[in-house]
Symmetry: C2
Subunit: 324 residues, 2 copies
């Protein structure tokens, strides 16, 4: 698909919600116009596998391999491995599907052979026929630790094993001070052609913050003088997917798109609100952000493409100072 | 099942053929009367997994989980992982089934946590409900290298990847000089109650020799003054399973049960020939071995139990010097 649009874009994505907009953007922008940067704070070592859930979700979504019934994982997945593992007394709380396992085995083997996470991701994407670059936020490990009233938990232990039940008190991105943005992410941030950074509708605390808190990332965005646009993952006081709203309540924040915008103050220039939250628009503007109100619920592929188009138009208007 | 038999036995087994007799023996002897020692020369690291094919075949056979149609692997196996791996450009020549993979993942995780291969095998057997001890020949790696006219090959590369096609010139058991019999194997060899050692119908060169060549094993058998009985894996000039006959031809040996007996001269006291090879009996006796001629083709469970009974009776007769 050739694009009638100009410029280059970075999309920052967590898992399912973010990947939907990343897919929309990939239908509107050519492969050399879009760099999709995936959060790797959720990555963890499990049963000897290096598992990178957000990279996988983005890859599977872009390759049209994602499981629409489950809302995560691969289409046509089966669970023979997991059943056999459970029988052997192995840890079965993290739902490793038979097909999905191949991704983890391949990535782990590549990393053991000395490949960076960027190189391993590139090889997997290439094998899956994904044209647009999917880039880990960093090749350095930056595991998210969830501080809870029950103690510290690795992200997947909090998210999957404990079903987000422990009450959250804060987050820590271990090792982030010494981590570097992955080379392709740094290059995209430094490129002359960069037009905007799009923060996909992902969890602000555990999907987006790890990326934006990487040393040098916000500086590079400011230096580039390009707008950063965030699409709210909270609509009508609910998280479309995942624990964002529950986390906000536990952190003493209102569970609203406005509170998400407040979280991004000083970082985000334009904020995309769902039609349902039109009433919050002027409050978001009062934070010093431009606003766009549109449908952000991405049920169909058309919804994803439409939101991508709107968001890119919005970014262009902010970039040219023509925000009407 | 309680046993009316006396004494303790060691069964030495490679893969499929050996495991059938090991199963028969397990139906005749109580768990505290039988130690099944599996060859680990075939073990290899593949895609980051520690794979122990003969241990697995013995375990799956004893747990009644083996795939009767394929003749190897697990019943009800599926191949979604392998298909996905192939799609990702991974090495798919070693047929890792979805269920089988759980065994490798579990074993590899246990070894990485510091367990010995003996301990990991014990844990897997326990999870599979296997009452009789299955013991690796050694906790030290002793990988078989197959010398061929095309160069040296790891055993699985020769056996599975290259379909036993390269012409064999010899074998090497790497590191065997420094390897020790696994503790439970050494204990069984040293036990006062030891009555006989049964060499199951497995490949003499790559399944049995690695076990018998381990430092101290033959000495211990001689010290124990118990008979060692071998069941021929060659019947009517053909290997029941696997490349034994082809190897014999390439090594310049006749492809006969007699040549197997010759290979075992000085080690084996009693040799079990199939009815089809009754004509070789006196030639085997001329090697200084006692002989038993019986049906050694184990198609049904009854065949396995019958061969186990005959072989144990034969061992007892040799042990008491009453070989009529």
């Amino acid at each position: 698909m050739t694009s009638r649009r100009q410029g280059n874009y970075i999309a920052i994505s967590g898992g399912v919600g973010g990947a939907k907009l990343a897919l929309g953007l990939s239908r509107v922008l050519a492969p050399d116009q879009l760099t999709i940067v995936a959060n790797t704070g959720d990555d963890f070592d499990h049963l000897g596998f290096f598992i990178s859930p957000d990279i996988d979700t983005v890859m599977y979504t872009l390759a049209d391999l994602s499981n629409k019934e489950l809302g995560w994982g691969l289409a046509g997945e089966s669970w023979q491995f997991l059943e056999a593992l459970e029988r052997l007394g192995g840890e079965a709380w993290f739902r490793l599907g038979d097909r999905d396992l191949a991704t983890h085995v391949m990535r782990t083997a590549l990393l053991r052979q000395g490949a960076t996470l960027s190189a391993a991701t590139g090889q997997l994407c290439s094998a899956l026929g994904i044209a647009h670059p999917v880039v880990p936020m960093s090749d350095d490990p930056v595991p998210t630790v969830v501080h809870t009233k029950d103690g510290d938990l690795g992200f997947q232990h909090y998210f999957v094993r404990d079903h987000c039940e422990p009450e959250v008190t804060g987050f820590e991105f271990k090792g982030i001070e010494a981590a570097h943005p992955a080379p392709a992410f740094a290059d995209a941030l430094a490129a002359d052609e960069l037009s905007a950074v799009i923060v996909c509708p992902s969890n602000p605390f555990v999907s987006v913050d790890p990326v934006l808190h990487l040393p040098g990332v916000m500086d590079a965005i400011h230096r580039a003088r390009v707008p950063m646009i965030a699409v709210s993952p909270i609509v009508g006081g609910r998280a479309i997917k995942g624990p964002a709203a529950k986390m906000m309540a536990e952190l003493g924040m209102p569970q609203t798109a406005l509170a998400v915008a407040e979280h991004y103050v000083g970082r985000v220039d334009g904020f995309v609100l769902d039609d349902e939250d039109a009433g919050l628009e002027s409050a978001v503007q009062d934070l010093g952000m431009e606003t766009l109100v549109t449908n952000t619920i991405m049920t169909t592929l058309d919804d994803r493409v439409a939101l991508a188009e709107c968001t890119l138009d919005f970014a262009r208007r902010i970039g040219t100072g023509n925000t009407k």
